[in-house]
């Protein structure tokens, strides 16, 4: 079963950015993360019947991503997918701070075990539920809970993230919506 063009494009556009970023948090380089996300979405295309019939397409997609990264299949990627447009240019801002946040967080994640890291990213970045994560990783829900709890405890003990907390607390403010008259 092949997907309808528009349906597949909507599916890809809705998930691509988060898949790439999740793959980075799983430990991939940016290039490998894009390859892993693209390979995941191609696999979804070739198994569209299962994706469409799935009660939870997102759990299915992230199972493919996690398994693909775990098995190192991204390394066998041979088909390069060129872009028509170059990525959006980097924001002009405190570049040193941005790099510091990314590197510090990734370094802290790298010190966690692979399993704890997977749970943490799926739960707190992708926003999957514990049940969905259990489905993605093929583990019990209780195991998801305990891994997440141990991962957060480990990050707390790590201490390297503490000084970032006030900065990140400032983000996510959704009260800053533009007024219509500003548009």
């Amino acid at each position: 079963m092949k997907p309808d063009d528009l349906e597949y494009e909507g599916f890809v556009v809705a998930r691509y950015r988060t898949l790439v970023r999740a793959a980075v948090l799983f430990g991939c380089s940016r290039q490998d993360a894009e390859d892993a996300a693209q390979d995941t979405l191609i696999r979804c295309y070739t198994a569209w019947g299962r994706v469409a019939a799935s009660d939870d397409p997102d759990a299915y997609v992230y199972r493919i991503l996690v398994n693909g990264i775990s098995r190192g299949r991204r390394r066998s990627w041979r088909g390069e997918t060129p872009y028509e447009q170059v990525p959006e240019s980097r924001a002009v801002g405190d570049l040193a701070n941005e790099i510091s946040v990314e590197q510090t967080v990734r370094a802290a994640l790298a010190r966690l075990g692979r399993e704890q890291r997977q749970v943490l990213v799926l739960r707190y970045f992708v926003d999957l539920t514990e049940s969905q994560i259990a489905d993605v990783l093929g583990i019990a829900r209780g195991t998801v809970k305990s891994r997440a709890s141990r991962a957060i405890a480990a990050l707390s003990e790590d201490g390297s993230l503490n000084e970032l907390l006030p900065t990140t607390h400032q983000s996510g403010n959704q009260d800053s919506l533009p007024h219509e008259e500003d548009r």
């Binding site: 494009e9 970023r21 548009r183």
Partner: protein, 215 residues
């Protein structure tokens, strides 16, 4: 002590500035088609080998012929759910070109990008509902990319934003118009489900999918 919400904020802060190019959906579909074709070739070759073996086997036995009246297997039918939409669009930092009018330097809000990257739909109230919810309306701010905004060569046709919305299962198609082109709007649609929107303004076209939840 790090709390759940801290982890969430840290992970997002660590990835906000990762530049991700527009999803190359058409090329992924082409790659998917190639894989499917390869599989078919392998399956046909394998099937031919099996048939050859079966024929060879039948020729060695007697009286074993398939019963033409025997029932054949019925294809399994499964309800196909719309998957082109995201029910809860995650909040993300807006692209640089879409931040005008926001007081935060790096505003984070739910938005959906057009598949060509020419426009984004910023969702002010989630979920979008059909019929509209009592506590919030289906407010969408349409922001065109500067790449097409300044493209005077293509600036023909209606300056209004014309929206053709098609329910994913094809059961309904409606049109909406945002006067004056991309900007703030209330887009109510007649039924809940995954809607594919074709957007046309000033000679430009883009498409995206939005999920409208039942109230």
């Amino acid at each position: 002590m790090i709390h759940d919400e801290d982890v969430s904020a840290l992970l997002r802060a660590a990835t906000d500035d990762i530049d991700v190019a527009i999803a190359p959906a058409d090329r992924l579909a082409e790659a998917g088609d190639r894989r499917l074709r390869r599989r078919r070739v392998v399956a046909v070759a394998g099937g031919a080998a099996v048939v050859a073996l079966v024929i060879a086997g039948i020729s060695l036995t007697t009286g074993l012929r398939p019963d033409p009246a025997a029932p054949t297997s019925t294809p399994r039918t499964t309800a196909v759910q719309p998957v082109g939409c995201v029910m809860n669009v995650p909040s993300q930092v807006l692209p640089l070109w879409a931040r005008s009018g926001f007081s935060e330097p790096r505003p984070r809000i739910a938005y959906v990008s057009g598949q060509r990257g020419y426009i984004i739909a910023i969702l002010f109230g989630q979920p979008l509902n059909a019929p509209p919810a009592a506590d919030h309306n289906n407010k969408i701010l349409w922001v065109p990319s500067p790449e097409v905004e300044g493209d005077t060569a293509a600036a023909t046709g209606s300056p209004d934003l014309l929206i053709t919305a098609r329910l994913a299962n094809g059961s309904a198609t409606v049109t909406r118009t945002v006067s004056g082109g991309p900007g703030p709007s209330i887009i109510d649609l007649p039924e809940p489900g995954c809607w594919h929107l074709t957007l046309q303004w000033s000679g430009h076209t883009d498409d995206l999918a939005l999920w409208y939840a039942a109230r």
